[in-house]
């Protein structure tokens, strides 16, 4: 087992820079999730760590060893692919034993290690089968098995659950979490699903356009996002953003208002220097931080109501055309087309400046 560090890592395809300088250090045994929208470079970054993509600039170290130009097989990594990438003509046992065979281990030792991994992943009854005779979840477990037999320093997962149906995805997510607790290895996991990121990660790395937007524990990112991108990406449904104007300020807070959407003066905490009066900004409020009562509220027209049973999501449109999503535990009282007030807890609201940076 080992930690990992990326120093000024860049990737160019021709003249296009897809990874624009990433610095990151990952401690031994950490479960780090790379998350971001499609095309943000998260998979490319993972493939660079795996050695499947060359590094245009910078340095990659695994366990203190420079592996920037090392062969994938010599990096002490194992990778689980989105498409499983099993060898279709080999049995489950042969698939899992293949990396050990390549490492030159004697057959009895291979058999023992495969049996051990099969036990961890509940694959014992399937060892003689071919991949096509397995279900999607079982195939993914074989792919994970092929990774764990090698006892790698670092596990790399490239969107491993995105080919599974919703129910299986939840199940496999729990299995991967259990596996991490059991093996205590360093794991790097790429996904575009922020629920997977929140539930699995000890630390989340949010990427956008080849750049790290923020790194932190899941709840840190949720409770303390650095910018609108992270605030919008972490949390589901996504945070509401409403343009506001700063009307007054004090030490550690700013008072904002947006009369056209029914928001009267409300005081919001800011992290650094309070913004000057008159500044245009954006107020971020999560759907789950709406509650009845209180002075801070928006006025909107109910357009769609999604009743999930325990929770209800109300979609409303404000008079300035911005959309609002509100979570409510009470499904009653949201009639379509009616205009009403949606009160929220201003202590949980965030203020961003015109460039999207958190104030």
């Amino acid at each position: 087992m080992a930690g990992l560090s990326l120093q000024g890592v860049k990737k160019r395809f021709g003249h296009t820079e897809v990874i624009t300088g990433v610095d990151l250090s990952i401690a031994d045994g950490e479960f780090v999730v790379f998350v971001g929208p499609s095309g943000c470079g998260k998979s490319t970054l993972l493939r660079m760590i795996a050695g499947l993509e060359t590094v245009s600039d910078g340095r990659i170290e695994i366990g203190g060893r420079d592996v920037t130009n090392a062969d994938p097989a010599k990096r002490g990594i194992a990778m689980v692919f989105q498409t499983y990438a099993l060898y279709p003509h080999m049995s489950v046992a042969a698939n899992m034993g293949f990396p050990l065979e390549m490492a030159g281990l004697p057959q009895p030792e291979i058999d023992a290690k495969v049996a051990e991994a099969a036990k961890i992943l509940h694959l014992e009854p399937f060892l003689k089968r071919k991949p096509r005779e397995l279900s999607g979840g079982q195939r993914q477990r074989v792919a994970i098995g092929r990774a764990i037999v090698r006892k790698p320093d670092v596990f790399l997962f490239d969107e491993p659950l995105s080919n599974l149906d919703a129910e299986l995805r939840v199940q496999m997510r729990i299995e991967i979490a259990r596996l991490h607790q059991q093996l205590k290895s360093t794991m790097i996991y790429v996904t575009h699903d922020q629920v997977e990121a929140m539930t699995l990660a000890s630390r989340i790395v949010v990427l956008k356009a080849g750049r790290i937007e923020q790194v932190g524990a899941p709840l840190d990112l949720y409770e303390n996002p650095d910018n609108m991108f992270v605030a919008g990406f972490i949390g589901s449904p996504r945070m509401n953003f409403v343009p506001v104007t700063v009307v007054s300020q004090g030490d550690g807070f700013a008072v904002v208002a947006a009369a056209e959407v029914g928001l009267r003066e409300v005081s919001v905490a800011v992290r650094g220097e309070p913004p000057v009066v008159g500044t245009r900004g954006v107020l971020g409020v999560r759907p789950e931080h709406f509650a009845s009562g209180g002075d801070a509220c928006f006025e909107g027209t109910v357009s769609v109501v999604e009743r999930l049973g325990g929770l209800t999501y109300v979609h409303a449109s404000l008079s300035d055309k911005s959309a609002l999503t509100v979570e409510s535990r009470d499904p009653r009282g949201f009639d379509l087309g009616t205009t009403r007030r949606f009160a929220f807890d201003p202590r949980r609201a965030f203020l961003f400046d015109g460039t999207g940076q958190r104030l």
């Binding site: 795996a50 499947l52 692919f81 498409t83 990438a85 060898y87 390549m102």
Partner: protein, 275 residues
């Protein structure tokens, strides 16, 4: 989509025409080989043999050099096929996966091999082989067959290689497999239908090759079936029974080949690998 009755009828009628068109000559040859000579040349041809004899086969195997031709043809075709596959597979993989200067240009250039009529290259090849002492050897035919089958085989195998998901190869790279192992243990089994196609193409091309076999082989004992056969057709008379029996026997290895490699023509070989 469900077919209506007229559509089904039209479909089966069309199939019947195609079957007749392809099957009739075969039937004619095979049924003719067991007819008595007078029935073969009778004025009113018979579709169903009215007589039965194995005299043509007996004569073919006992009083002609046909068995030797058969062995020569088998040797030439088998060696041509095996070497073509052994050369085409790594070449195709190199063109497919390795990066080297001039790759694209070279890849297109190999097809230029087909730009010249074979007759044009016959004389230089004869001169070349004469210098190396290869005239009147079966090896010379093997070399020629490989040279003509290889460009097409490389193209064909490359497209089969391209159909294997990249992830499988990358998984093997991460697992520590060197390129040779990836090609032989991972890729080759997955493109078995492609290898089978190349095998059949090369085997049949070698089996039926006439021009080079007629020029490069001098002695009767080294002739292959197509050339040896030509000798059966005499200047003044043709022994039809002998010819038909020879033609029947000549198709047997090809039929066996299809039966043997046909099972590799299965689709969905990579099923279960990804998704």
């Amino acid at each position: 989509m469900k077919r209506t009755l007229p559509q089904s009828l039209a479909l089966y009628a069309g199939l019947a025409v195609i079957v007749l068109l392809i099957g009739l000559p075969f039937w004619w040859v095979m049924s003719g080989s067991i007819k008595l000579p007078r029935e073969i040349i009778s004025r009113v041809p018979t579709m169903v043999p009215q007589s039965f004899t194995l005299q043509h086969f007996e004569k073919l195997l006992q009083s002609t050099d046909f068995p030797a031709y058969l062995v020569n043809s088998l040797l030439v075709a088998l060696f041509s096929t095996v070497f073509t596959i052994a050369l085409a597979l790594p070449t195709a993989y190199a063109f497919f996966r390795m990066k080297f200067p001039g790759r694209a240009a070279l890849y297109r250039l190999i097809l230029v091999a087909y730009a010249f009529p074979t007759v044009v290259v016959l004389i230089p090849i004869y001169g070349l082989f004469a210098r190396f002492g290869l005239i009147d050897t079966r090896a010379s035919l093997v070399i020629v067959n490989i040279a003509f089958a290889l460009p097409f085989s490389i193209w064909m195998m490359r497209s089969f290689l391209a159909s294997v998901p990249r992830d499988i190869e990358e998984a093997a790279i991460v697992d520590g497999a060197p390129p040779r192992v990836i090609l032989l243990r991972i890729m080759a089994p997955l493109i078995a239908p492609g290898i089978a196609s190349v095998a059949i193409f090369t085997f049949i091309a070698s089996w039926t090759e006439y021009l080079f076999a007629s020029v490069l082989i001098v002695s009767d004992a080294r002739r292959t079936i197509p050339v040896g056969f030509a000798g059966i057709i005499g200047q003044y008379q043709i022994d039809w029974g002998l010819l038909l029996a020879g033609a029947t026997l000549a198709t047997i290895p090809v039929v066996i080949l299809f039966a043997f490699v046909g099972r590799w023509f299965v689709t969905g070989l990579t099923e279960g690998a990804v998704k």
